[in-house]
Each structure stands twice: as C-alpha cells, then as structure tokens.
C-alpha cells in the first residue's frame, strides 16, 4: 500500500508564502483561486490570561489532506473524485458534473468550483511532477525547508525535501534546476509522536500531517 502525503514542520515554516505562490504558478490557477493557503495562527496567549510578550504563533500551510477515507470521494455521484493507488485524491475533470457536493463534504473547504471550466478543483499533490519522480512544487520551492513529501506507509523518516545541490544523474531532458532531494531528518529537529498533528478528523482520516513542537496545536 502507498499513501503519498506531505508533512509540514511548522517550527521551520517562516510564512514566506512561496509554497502558495509556486502552487498557483505550477498549476496555472486562476486569480483568486488557491490550492494551498498559508494561515498565521496567533499570536495567542501561551497560557490562558497571558499577555504580550507571553504569546506564541505559527504559520500553517493548508491544502487537500489526501484523506485515507475521503468523504469527497464517497459523495461524488460520477466517480470523478477518486482515490488513486498512490493514496492521493484526484478529480477527473471530464467526469465532473459540477454538483459541488464534494466541496460541501470536505471538512477543510479546500475544494472550489473553477468558474471558467465549471468543474471542481483542488490540490493534486502535483501529480504531473510526482509521477515523474519529482517533488510537489510546494515542497520543491519551500524556502524554509519545512515541507516534505513521501509515503506515509514507509514512515515519516522517509519523507524528502529539496536538497542544496543538483541531481547527480540529470539527463538532458531534466530541469537543471532540480535539486537532489534530501531526507526530512537532514533539516528537521527530532520530534516525538506528541508533536505530530493532523487537521481535525471528521471521519475522513486526513493523511497529510504537521509537526509542531513546544506550542499549542490549534486545529
């Protein structure tokens, strides 16, 4: 079994928005539409009643969580929304009738109607790149080296982020800007199970996850 997903180390995210912009660019999204947004959560009191400077905050990039039990797939009348063998949730635009029940069934509101094509869209986990062995664009472009891509069933330690040097085996067809991926452990400080968080589970079992240490997770 495979379950591709993204893990974001929120202690490393600097809120530069590059992932969000790179996603729009790579997937040619219309103005005003986003497959990935970055939210600033906070500043909030560290403990109840605390005031500045006893506050904390973090940035949280949010897109499709490629759930293990996606309700958006269950409610789709035509099978346009489907779960692939690699665990990602995809939309076959040719089969989408634009009923938008999937947008209602998503607990995270990350699906929307493309007003031009009149079909529903969302993050594809850069299927066009991943199928060629590359990283999703939001991972590849992450300035803070906070986002990592991999197969959850092989463990978070197997997740990869962009490296610092070119791939040694680049072919003439390859993009020379591609960097040799490096494992998450190259960048991220050690974490415990208690540091791993998911978006609120409404029965959909979100796959993608977040690492947040020493701060209060706020959903």
């Amino acid at each position: 079994m495979t379950q591709f997903a993204i893990v974001t180390d929120l202690n490393r995210c600097v809120g530069c928005l590059t992932c969000s912009v790179a996603c729009k660019f790579a997937n040619d999204l219309p103005p005003g539409d986003f497959w990935l947004k970055v939210f600033r959560i906070g500043p909030n009191p560290i403990n109840e009643g605390d005031t500045y400077p006893e506050v904390e905050m973090y940035y949280k990039p949010v897109g499709c969580q490629h759930c293990r039990k996606p309700e958006c797939v269950a409610v789709c009348p035509t099978g346009a929304s489907h779960k692939r063998e690699d665990g990602t949730v995809q939309i076959d635009k040719q089969r989408c009738i634009g009923c938008q029940f999937c947008t209602m069934a998503c607990p995270y509101n990350v699906r929307y109607l493309n007003e031009v094509e009149r079909v529903v869209e969302k993050c594809t986990l850069c299927e066009q790149r991943v199928s060629q062995g590359d990283l999703p664009e939001c991972v590849r472009q992450c300035n803070g080296r906070a986002r990592f891509f991999g197969d959850l069933d092989k463990g978070l330690e197997s997740f990869m982020g962009p490296g610092t040097g070119p791939k040694p085996d680049t072919t003439s067809a390859a993009d020379p800007r591609e960097l040799e991926p490096l494992p998450i452990t190259t960048y991220s400080a050690p974490w415990s199970e208690a540091d791993i968080h998911h978006m609120t589970d409404a029965g959909n079992d979100p796959a993608s996850c977040f690492i947040l240490r020493n701060r209060k997770w706020r959903g």
Partner: protein, 290 residues
C-alpha cells in the same frame, strides 16, 4: 457558505411532493379522498419534477449528468434512484386510482416510498464536514416540513373538490404539522448552541489580508437574535405558527375553506425556504477559514 438556491428549491418541492403523496396515501388507507386522489398524484408528481429541474440547474455540467452516474455511496445517486421509484409508484397509484378509490396497498406503498424519498434526501446532507447539518434533527425538520406541506396541499385539493371528510382530517394534520415544524426548529436552535468548530484564537489569512474573521461563534445567538434571526423567526412564525393557528381555527368546522388552506400552504413553503437558507448560512465546515 452561500445559499444554494437550486438545492433549496429541490428539497422544498421534494418535501411538498412526497408529503402530498403520503397524505393522499393516508386518506386512501382510511378509505377516504377519492375526489382528491388523481389531482393529488398529479400535483405531487409536478412538485417533484419541479424540484428535479431545480436540482439540474445546480449542476454546472448537466450535459454530463448521465455520463457516469452510479456511485451508490453518493447521496445524489440515492436521491435519483429513490425519485425514479417514487415516479413509478405514483404512476401505479394513478393507474389503480383512476376509476375509483385506490386499494389500501397502494396507499401504504405511497406512504412508504414517500418516507424513503425524504429520508434519503435528508441523508445526503448529513455531512460530518458541516457540523450544523450533521444531526438527526435534520430528519425531524424535513419530515415535519413534508408532513405539514403535504397536509396543507391535500387540504387545499380537498377544498377544491369539496370533500369535507378528507378536508377534516387534513385540517388536523396541518395543525399537527405546523406544531411539528415549530418544535423541530426550536430543537434545531438548541442543537446549534452545542456545535463547535476548530478554534484558532487569533489568526490571519495571507490571501485575503483585510477579510474579517469568520464569525462562527455563538451561532445560537446569531440564529435567535442576530443576523439570521429574520429568516429563522420567519420559518418559525410564518412556516409553523401561522398554518397551525389557521388550521386550529378550522379544527371543528368549516373545513372547506379554500383561502385558509391556500394561505397555510404558502406560509409553510415560505417558512421552508427561509430555514433552508439558514441551513446554508450556518453551514460552516470544520476548518472554516480556508
């Protein structure tokens, strides 16, 4: 979320159509309603058809609608199948009731299928992603609505056909339906007070820097005395209290009263539209800030 008007119209007319058919089925089981049974079936079928057309308007690519339908886990597919079955049963009821009172089995079938249609329609909106919708109280509201609208609809047809016996029963059912609508809405308001969402404290959306924070706190306050109070109380008073009072005024005598029946029906439908709009406006997802 924004009010999805085609779906508001769809659920409203499915409740009306199924309600009228079920009430006519009830009269049939009791050996009544011969005069109203053909017009009732035609009116019920017309209402459901109108709802179906409205639901098609919600589709962005209706031209592809039958290009791959068939995912049985989908509420839309289940609704489609149940409505097709409803139309078949309506045709059977029409055929056996054309030249006299339909047999009791046809009345029982009408009631059972109508209940199933409303139940499946409601189930498709029970989404855990939208906490305000994810409650069995949604069944209570839609069934109360279907009962009240169906009773008022058949009351109206009984008045047109001057069938005092049927009108007498439908007056009582309209009164009970109105009370049921009010009870379901007040129960819903109480439930809304228990719903909670992810709480981020202070937050900021980098894509809409000047947007106001999502206002999904104190939903019961919004409902009872805030921004949603007008449609909510419209649903309670116009959609429930007024038809109940009108029906109570005709509880003992004067059952044949076209204007009372018509006003009751219109009020139930107006109230139904108002509360369906409220349901969409309260339909925040779990993670409400994307």
């Amino acid at each position: 979320m924004e009010v999805q008007w085609p779906l508001v119209i769809f659920t409203l007319f499915v409740c009306l159509g199924a309600g009228v058919f079920a009430m006519q089925g009830l009269l049939c089981v009791l050996g009544k309603g011969e005069k109203s049974q053909v017009p009732a079936v035609i009116a019920a079928a017309g209402a459901v058809a109108l709802g179906g057309i409205a639901s098609f308007l919600h589709l962005q690519h209706w031209d592809r609608a039958f290009n791959g339908f068939g995912q049985l886990s989908s509420g839309i597919t289940q609704e489609l199948i149940s409505i097709v079955v409803l139309f078949i049963v309506m045709a059977v009821f029409f055929a056996v009731g054309r030249k006299g009172l339909a047999p009791k089995w046809a009345g029982i079938l009408a009631i059972v299928v109508s209940i199933a249609v409303v139940a499946l329609m409601t189930t498709s909106y029970l989404m855990p992603a939208r906490p305000v919708w994810s409650t069995p109280l949604l069944y209570l509201f839609y069934f109360a609505q279907a009962f009240a609208a169906g009773a008022a609809g058949v009351w109206l047809l009984s008045c047109i056909g001057k069938d005092a016996d049927s009108a007498s029963l439908m007056v009582k059912c309209t009164a009970i339906g109105g009370i049921a609508v009010v009870a379901s809405l007040l129960a819903y308001a109480a439930y809304v007070g228990t719903v909670s969402f992810d709480d981020f404290g202070s937050y900021w959306d980098s894509t809409v820097p000047t947007a106001a924070l999502v206002d999904n706190g104190n939903l019961v306050g919004q409902l009872l005395a805030g921004g949603l109070a007008l449609p909510f109380w419209l649903a309670v008073l116009v959609g429930g209290v007024v038809p109940a009072v009108l029906a109570f005024l005709k509880w003992k005598d004067g059952h044949i009263n076209l204007s009372f029946a018509a006003v009751s029906l219109v009020c139930i439908l107006v109230g139904g539209i108002a509360f369906r709009a409220v349901l969409y406006l309260l339909g925040f997802p779990v993670f409400a800030i994307f």
